[in-house]
Amino acid sequence: MAPRYPVDKVIAAATNGDLDLVGSRARDIVQTYVEGFADSFSFASALVAALRLEHFQETVTLGPPYKGEFDVYICPISSELMSRYGLEHVPNWYVKLKLTENDNGDSVLVVSMHPPEKPARQRRKR
């Protein structure tokens, strides 16, 4: 199963800074893991920019108000990211996102970002 949104486009948008974090999710991250909203945004951008196809888990739909499909990844973070944000105790992150458009073109909407609640499942090979 392939992601709904091409991972290279997702990475390119995040690398450009074309990314939005849903407000409540950004707040959760600030509350628990990082110092402020700028850290929350830059960590999200770095995390999404580091996604790889092998981290993809599944494509899901969500209840209201969320429309459209969302790709789920469970991604290990680099030791550099761990030490920059003091996240040595959280090596893996669950990310749920979709690719949308803004004035610049592609833009990533991150609707979930937290440590995985259950271990990553092995992705089935096609």
């Binding site: 990314l19 409540s24 600030v30 909203f37 700028a38 929350s40 945004f41 209201p64 108000p65 429309k67």
Partner: protein, 191 residues
Amino acid sequence: MTKTRRCPICEQGTVRPVATRAAMPYRHVTALEPAWEVRIPTCDNCHERLIDGNTARSLDAALEAALQTLQTQLVNEAIDQLATVKTQRQWEKRLGLSPGYLSRLKSGKEGSVVLTTLLSLLAQAPSRQWKQTEAIWSGRDQAAAEVLSFPARGATIASTFHFQQEASSQSASVSQLRDSQCVVARFEEAA
């Protein structure tokens, strides 16, 4: 973000900047009201907010300013409360702070989350905490505290203890205190 756009969440509403001073988590503070209004892209249909890079930086600037104000306010309240039982200088000495440090904290020229927290805790019961901090710094060993509180010879032994402290600039050990107690006991026996 200054322009409007279609909401990527509900795909129905329009996202436009809305000025708000809603409380947010920031650093160690659970809910802090930004010092000024921040324009956050918000959907007019699902009412979700979107945090992009510019919004995140604007929020942090307004929250940092609010945090400084809050910290100065907490420190002022705490120091005023502490000053009802001992002078600022006495508290500075007890906490190992340089002369005038508490005044600098009050003016907002210095800031420390740890000190603000400590002072606020002390200020909840200043009189009791003064005694507690005295107990903390009178010696780590329970035996030392017991020797010092021995009623018949306490004053003599305490004097010996302070003399030894001043002479060596170090805390007297329990064995030293026990030796002192023996000396006092022998003196009393001889008398």
